[in-house]
Amino acid sequence: MTAAQRANGWLRRVPAPLVYLAGLLYAAWLFWRALSGASVEPVNWLERAYGLTALRLLVATLLVTPLRRWTGVSLLRFRRALGLTCFGFVVAHVAVWALLDVRSLGAVWADIVKRPYITVGMAALLLLLPLALTSNDASLRRLGAAAWRRLHWLTYPAAVLGAIHFIWLQRAFAIQPLVYLAIILLLLATRLPWRRPTLA
């Protein structure tokens, strides 16, 4: 038995809903830390913590297919839960920004229209919305597998916009957001239909 087969055997025993539970507990733990002095500026701290977690989970969902192709380890059973948990963190990120930080509908709208990095972030959220709404068996059946898969390609532009949103809010040269963009572009490149050299 290969290592990948052993890993898959072990993973089969992990119930997928555990991902939701872990996400919920992690979100609650971050909120509790913000309340109990993780930073002297807890609003900004929580906003960033939720946003970064969302971006990490987005990368995790994109990693599922290449990981299976390269190593044989399959996390396919967890992908829907990873994607929906990611969406949950995106919503939490926006909620902290709108409800705890800006606190005015007018100012929220003004920021979305006027601030390009927020526009880009909002665009990413809008791209993820139909994906979250169709991440269920009924939608998969109704749309058909091919159309459903095409729709869910939106994950890639959403991830790219998410990384740009992260880069754009930096004041100076910062490595971390660039690394996220590089990883996302690399993962995107592995999915493009490169022309293989034809055998004579």
Binding site: V40, E41, V43, L100, A107, D111, R115, P116, Q170, F173
Partner: protein, 296 residues
Amino acid sequence: MARRWTNDLTGADVTPKALWMSRRALLAGAGAAGALALPLRAQGLEPNTIEEIRNYNNFYEFGYGKEDPAAYAGAMRTSPWSVKVDGLVDRPGDYAPADLLDGLEVEERIYRLRCVEAWSMVIPWSGVELADVLAKVGVQEGARYVAFETTVQEDVMPGVQRRVLDFPYVEGLRLDEALHPLTILATGIYGEPLANQNGAPIRLVVPWKYGFKSIKSIVRISLVAEQPPATWNLTNPAEYGFYSNVNPNVDHPRWSQASERRIGGGLFSSRQPTLMFNGYDEVAPLYEGMDLTVEI
């Protein structure tokens, strides 16, 4: 020259040093003195705690995270320290901070500090008026600006190693701004010497400008004729002007400057409106005739 700046607070309001160490204690002390015309809280001048002041900083030499300076600045060497004073001055030379301060009265100044990132604190500085220091070294005719430079200690500065900005960090003021009685060289907070992350051993404080103008850990002060370079202005001139006066009517291109978050309010505190010149209206005459929506 402008009149000396006078604190709204009197000597009777000075809190005993033992009571300084927490905000609650400071308020209790002020109450006990019983002589406040307006409580600090009502003036929006209730100082932040020393923990807040030391744990939420921008000091890009140590990284761009707000917690990086507290984590890494401890390794900065601040003694011995020497400030090179040069350019259009009568008595150029290398001065120890104590020499610059010698014979001057170190005052307490409770100032608002407004960061360009739309957060703010209130900080009880101790320091001397820059004008008094400049008078000591003798400003020559022809000097129109003051240029400042921060130390570079690459071996202990992760942000310098990673080149997050073009170091050394430099800043500048117009001479009349530098001579304004609100402008101080600070050496302490809450009566204690500055923590390294707050710009030890000696830093500038210009309370009506965004925080990045108040350059930290100064190793050079030059009197010059032409407008000197300023690091953020060089890095991104569209976002950071030379003047960088606090101005709620001119947004940073990427975020609003109309309001600010006071550090220390916790997760559920709301933003408060930002004041023109950070509330220091007495500096308005310095900019008479200038369009402050253009000359940012």
